[in-house]
């Protein structure tokens, strides 16, 4: 799950919760679903292979991306795919953040979510 200390509310979109490289790689994977690191690097061609590799390891470790080894006779490679859709990710992050807010502020959070919902509808 996204670490709370990594959340930066000042940033735009998913960059509030992920680094810009992580967002770019997640976007590519949401679009294509099953890719190798070389294909991901081709899509993000201004990122080096080492940078893509480090970011992919981090995304796998934090559970947003999964990989399986594709072993052929003459080659070995990872195939990456996202573990959830963009909407599911939104749900997971929201639940996590709301849980943390409720733990800290109790019922005040529930009423402010209700108010915010009222304003938007």
């Amino acid at each position: 799950m996204v670490k709370l200390e990594r959340i930066s509310l000042r940033n735009e979109g998913l960059k509030k919760f992920f680094s810009s490289n992580e967002v770019r790689i997640l976007d590519v994977l949401w679009k294509e679903q099953h890719l190798t690191s070389a294909q991901i690097q081709k899509e993000c061609d201004d990122l080096s292979l080492a940078c893509v590799a480090g970011t992919l390891d981090r995304l796998v470790k934090s559970g947003f991306v999964e990989r399986k080894i594709d072993e052929g006779e003459t080659r070995v490679r990872y195939i990456y795919s996202p573990t959830c859709t963009q909407d599911e990710l939104g749900m997971r992050i929201s639940e996590h953040v709301v849980d943390c807010l409720i733990d800290t502020f109790g019922t005040a959070v529930v009423s402010s979510i209700g108010k915010a919902r009222g304003k938007r509808s």
Partner: protein, 220 residues
């Protein structure tokens, strides 16, 4: 200094002490001339012996140096052992089974080859095995992988054990050189071909790889 020499002459250890110092200096000299690690390790053992010998022959307040020396050496040993344990644990925890892929390498080089579960391109030796990452196997072709394994095999068979050489460097208050990358590259170029090694080094982009490529090409 007078006190130090006085102690040494008083207890009659000046001659053996001088012999140990002279042999350590000769071994260091031989190391610098011949670049054989056995001489360096021998020199470090002799320096350690001379320090311990010198400290034990003290019969004045300098005795406290024994405690300072043994304290720093033992804490260094402990720190190194912990690092080694941690590296071994991490390496064991993160390996994946790709035995059919790496078994030809194991047969050719007669060492166990293990595969680490990471996209980063990594190759190193630990204990008696060579470790390669999935990322490395993915981006290097078979001949380039052979060049990398040959390089690691050289370290495994010819470079001194890192823990022992670190301990000796620490206890002899000297240095721990690891400038045998060039020799390992020369060996890898001979076994797997210079072109394959150069291509692997280019892909790996490790620190100093440009210099290493230049060295390989220069020595050919």
């Amino acid at each position: 200094m007078d006190c130090f020499l006085g102690c040494l002459t008083q207890v009659g250890v000046l001659l053996p002490f001088s012999i140990i110092i002279a042999s350590s200096l000769s071994l260091f000299f031989l190391f610098f001339i011949l670049r054989k690690y056995e001489f360096l390790l021998g020199g470090q053992i002799a320096v350690t012996a001379s320090i311990v010998f010198g400290l034990l022959s003290m019969n004045c307040p300098m005795y406290q140096w024994i405690w300072i020396y043994s304290g720093s050496v033992s804490s260094g040993v402990l720190a190194l052992m912990l690092v080694r344990y941690w590296v071994a644990r991490e390496a064991r925890k993160n390996t994946v089974s790709l035995s059919s892929y790496v078994s030809p390498l194991e047969k050719e080089f007669e060492i166990p080859v293990r595969v680490i579960d990471t996209q980063k391109m990594r190759a190193f030796v630990h204990g008696k095995a060579a470790y390669l990452s999935v990322g490395l196997l993915e981006h290097l072709n078979w001949d380039e992988v052979r060049a990398v394994v040959a390089h690691e095999v050289y370290h495994l068979k010819h470079s001194p054990d890192k823990l022992i050489s670190s301990l000796l460097a620490l206890s002899s208050l000297t240095f721990k050189p690891y400038n045998d990358e060039h020799l390992a590259d020369k060996y890898a170029a001979k076994v797997a071909g210079e072109d394959n090694l150069v291509r692997a080094l280019k892909k790996l982009e490790t620190a100093g790889s440009i210099q290493r490529i230049r060295d390989v090409l220069r020595s050919s």
